[in-house]
């Protein structure tokens, strides 16, 4: 079974994402900020990270920069940004930093499912 780390400071978003991911037969772990997510990535391996941008303690971009600095592309999880930052500048910056896909909130099951297909997780 594939697994996904959902990184978001909103409990509601984490719950919605968990509901969708579990319905797609993907197991879910949760982190409430980038620091928490980095710690979890050190102790466990994930197939994909669903990553919010704006979070306290450590934001999504900082998390991604640290992840790419410490893990080679082949050994790190796929990263899908999932954020309300919907401008072209943010999308390009996320891809330049190493994100694999980008979801603009609000999102639904079909969107998430298709993005997971695109990055090859399902």
């Amino acid at each position: 079974m594939k697994n996904c780390l959902v990184v978001d400071d909103s409990k509601v978003i984490r719950k919605v994402a968990r509901h969708i991911l579990e319905s797609l037969n993907i197991s879910v772990s949760e982190a409430c900020d980038g620091r928490d997510a980095l710690n979890q990535c050190e102790s466990a391996s994930h197939d994909v990270v669903l990553l919010d941008w704006n979070m306290p303690v450590m934001n999504g971009m900082e998390f991604l920069q640290q992840l790419t600095a410490t893990k080679a592309a082949a050994s790190r999880p796929k990263v899908i940004f999932c954020t309300t930052e919907n401008g072209l500048g943010h999308i390009k910056a996320a891809l330049d930093a190493g994100a694999d896909e980008y979801v603009m909130k609000p999102f639904d099951r079909d969107t998430l499912e298709s993005k997971l297909q695109i990055v090859g997780v399902i």
């Binding site: 390009k92 891809l95 603009m104 079909d110 969107t111 298709s114 993005k115 297909q117």
Partner: protein, 284 residues
């Protein structure tokens, strides 16, 4: 309104839909008909389906009848719908066509194109294979019975939800630009596609034969008789050996002998070659 008067109105509206499009309303859709028509009824200050039928009778067709038909059609679509189908197209079927066709001409028909995502997905796929199609004459015809969805397809404007369903973010960046709350697809792709309002049983838009026909998630709205007509039409406009792609739950089995399951591409159908054509291929 009494139940019988309401069901009479529903039957008349269902008959209008069938006469205009060939689509048969299932029992399930029939009872959701009022919900589908509510915005239209409100816009025309009509309180009930019976009032709507009376107005339609007064006007004898015209714009209101078109609006009713448009409101009842299921226009669900998404970019690269059924991911594996487009993967097979990109990696197997299109390269096979490019390698085996004598003439450098590729003709594709997206039959029942809805708001255009299928045709645009094809256009993106072909553009990404620029080297493969260098020097080829490529044409994409996209037709739908609903004038409102064809207008939307031609405009090439898609909501934020639309551009995320099935579309990779790199394709979004390459082919779209923000336009207010929506995203506009590039002129380059819009110019590749000829969008037309047309039906599938006596179509006027297709001319000659097509190497690839995509007619997905359309057949199950038709009666058995109408499906035979539609398959007849698709066969008339398919090149010998041309490919037909149907929706996931659709098949040619028991519907037509003009298409057969492809031995090479799983889930894809091929136009049966006329006998003399088949023998000439064998001889060659």
């Amino acid at each position: 309104m009494t139940g019988s008067r309401q069901s009479g109105a529903i039957r008349m509206i269902a008959a209008l839909l069938e006469a205009r499009t060939g689509q048969v309303l299932s029992e399930n859709r029939m009872w959701r008909l009022e919900t589908s028509l509510k915005p239209l009824m409100r816009a025309n200050s009509l309180r009930s389906l019976e009032d709507l039928v009376a107005r339609l009778a007064d006007q004898g067709g015209g714009p209101l009848a078109n609006d009713v038909v448009n409101a009842l059609l299921n226009n669900e679509s998404s970019f690269f719908r059924d991911h594996h189908v487009f993967q097979m197209l990109a990696t197997q079927i299109l390269p096979h066509i490019a390698q085996t066709r004598k003439e450098k001409s590729l003709r594709i028909w997206s039959a029942g194109c809805s708001t255009g995502q299928e045709a645009y997905s094809l256009a993106m796929t072909l553009r990404k294979q620029a080297d493969l199609w260098k020097g080829w004459q490529i044409s994409i015809l996209a037709t739908d019975i609903s004038s409102s969805v064809v207008e939307r397809a031609q405009a090439g404007l898609f909501s934020q939800i639309d551009v995320q369903r099935g579309l990779a973010v790199n394709d979004l960046l390459r082919w779209f630009e923000p336009a207010g709350d929506t995203w506009r697809i590039s002129q380059e792709l819009r110019h590749m596609i000829d969008f037309r309002v047309d039906n599938l049983f006596e179509p006027q838009a297709p001319s000659g034969s097509y190497d690839l026909v995509m007619c997905r998630n359309v057949q199950f709205y038709f009666s058995a008789e109408m499906r035979r007509k539609v398959f007849g039409c698709l066969a008339r406009h398919s090149a010998p050996g041309g490919y037909l792609i149907l929706g996931a739950g659709e098949t040619v089995i028991g519907q037509t002998i003009d298409f057969t399951a492809s031995m090479q591409f799983r889930g894809i159908y091929e136009r049966v070659r006329p006998k003399e054509d088949a023998s000439s291929v064998k001889a060659a």
